[in-house]
């Protein structure tokens, strides 16, 4: 296919031909068998790419982990389950009460529907176990006058979202692709190993260091993560100052260095350029007070 025809065919499929061009295109399709074959071949090629893109996107979505139910929904489900059980217990109690002789007016028979070895209302407490324990934990922490650092870290730490059309896992990856692919698949142990195999120039890249630091934080290797995050922060021309600041604050928090974490969070909260992390920093500071 010559270049001119290819351009024409491409424009036809992109609906860019004007009326006159379209008529001429259709006339040529009717008369010129070779041109028609090229048009058909182009259509197949475009379909091949679209199908491939469709499959790739579908596959990528299919690899995403199931998101957790929101805490409100979990609470609602537990509450709903608890109320059903409580309702059934009440109904059973009422039924038993109605079935038993009531005695005479002066000495009514009192029926105890709860077995002696069972704590009253044991079931709802068990059903609401997690929120109940969490509430107890929060209360204890509040009483002690300091926030629960581990819980705050767990609530606030979400590994940095890395999204890319690359790293499709088709076997043609470079060492960087492999590193990114493992990170995207949340295989943080393999991400850390893959970082070691990167050439030195890529190891010095702030983007890659940020991902590595997140992988290290996810694996509980906080001290190592801190050194990478501090290195990013020291760069004057980095695009990842806010990100590094946020994760460094979380790392300091995890290590119990609350004043250091607060200082970093205060910087983020006051930084107008840090759109994404400003609110998060404010919220975390509030919890730390």
């Amino acid at each position: 296919v010559n270049e001119q025809d290819l351009t024409l065919i491409e424009r036809h499929y992109r609906h860019e031909l004007d009326d006159a061009e379209r008529q001429s295109f259709e006339a040529r399709m009717a008369d010129d068998a070779e041109f028609k074959a090229s048009v058909l071949l182009y259509a197949k090629a475009a379909l091949a790419i679209r199908s491939y893109g469709h499959e790739q996107l579908k596959q990528r979505l299919g690899q995403r982990p199931m998101p957790e139910a929101s805490p409100t929904k979990r609470w609602y489900r537990h509450w709903r389950g608890g109320s059903v059980i409580a309702g059934l217990l009440l109904l059973a109690g009422w039924w038993l009460h109605m079935e038993q002789p009531t005695g005479d007016g002066d000495n009514p028979v009192i029926i105890d529907t709860i077995p002696a070895d069972q704590e009253p209302f044991n079931t709802p407490a068990a059903v609401l176990d997690t929120p109940y324990k969490q509430a107890q934990k929060d209360q204890t922490a509040q009483k002690a006058g300091k926030p629960d650092i581990d819980s705050l870290f767990a609530e606030s730490f979400e590994p940095y979202a890395y999204l890319s059309v690359l790293g499709s896992g088709n076997g043609d990856e470079t060492s960087l692709d492999t590193f990114l692919l493992f990170y995207r698949k949340r295989n943080y142990g393999a991400t850390i190993d893959a970082f070691d195999r990167l050439p030195d120039s890529l190891k010095r890249n702030d983007n890659n260091r940020l991902l590595l630091a997140n992988a290290l934080l996810s694996k509980g290797r906080t001290r190592e993560a801190v050194s990478y995050l501090q290195a990013i922060q020291k760069q004057s021309d980095t695009d990842f100052k806010s990100e590094a600041g946020w994760y460094l604050a979380l790392a300091q928090l995890k290590m119990g260095k609350v004043p250091d974490a607060k200082a970093l969070l205060n910087q983020l909260a006051a930084d107008p350029a840090s759109t994404e992390y400003r609110e998060k920093a404010k919220a975390l500071l509030e919890k730390l007070r």
Partner: protein
């Protein structure tokens, strides 16, 4: 391409911001930002699974597959300009698309609740069932794409699947001129056409 993806907002975007409006999500998809579809996929996945299970006699795998199809199809409709805005929420539209897929699998629903917006839309949805005339050739077409070098595959995917402009491709792949992009595109599509022709002859 790597440098572009690593440095631009496409590469690193937090999708945790659940306060994005439908309009913002459509705008993001129009710009080819795949994270927006992932955001939609995650945001309504659980609800769709229970919704699909309530209305259709379908296996969990089929419901998952229908949800993936719905989100991918929505992405493609937005990127191709078929959808610019919606009169209902994206959620309702996605549920109707996914429901349409499940209906193709199972033909009948368990029960119809007319109060459900997505079911209402599904009953009105007149998406024609396009006969896949090249169904037999799909594996061959896939192989032809896989035979391309990764750069050609990427540039064709961005141009044909994601409908990116020549100017965008120039920026992404750091070409010196738009003409250089066009030449590469032509070479790549020609190679793909040759691959298909060769594989068909075999």
């Amino acid at each position: 391409l790597l440098r572009f993806l690593l440095q631009k907002e496409l590469t690193y975007i937090s999708v945790k911001n659940s306060s994005l409006s439908d309009k913002e999500l459509i705008n993001a998809i129009q710009k080819g930002q795949i994270w927006a579809s992932e955001h939609l996929y995650d945001q309504h996945r659980r609800s769709f699974l229970s919704w699909g299970y309530s209305y259709f006699k379908a296996t969990p795998n089929d419901i998952e597959d229908a949800w993936q199809e719905a989100v991918v199809k929505f992405f493609e409709k937005v990127i191709s300009g078929e959808i610019i805005s919606l009169q209902c929420t994206i959620r309702t539209y996605l549920f109707a698309l996914g429901g349409h897929k499940l209906k193709q699998y199972y033909r009948k629903t368990k029960r119809i609740t007319w109060g459900d917006e997505a079911i209402k839309m599904l009953s009105k949805m007149s998406e024609p069932e396009i006969e896949d005339i090249w169904k037999e050739e799909r594996p061959l077409l896939r192989k032809a794409v896989e035979l391309l070098n990764p750069r050609c595959r990427d540039i064709l995917l961005l141009r044909i699947y994601e409908e990116r402009s020549i100017a965008e491709l120039q920026e992404i792949f750091k070409y010196a001129s738009k003409n250089a992009v066009s030449v590469t595109l032509h070479n790549c599509i020609e190679t793909l056409m040759e691959n298909i022709a060769k594989l068909t002859e075999q």
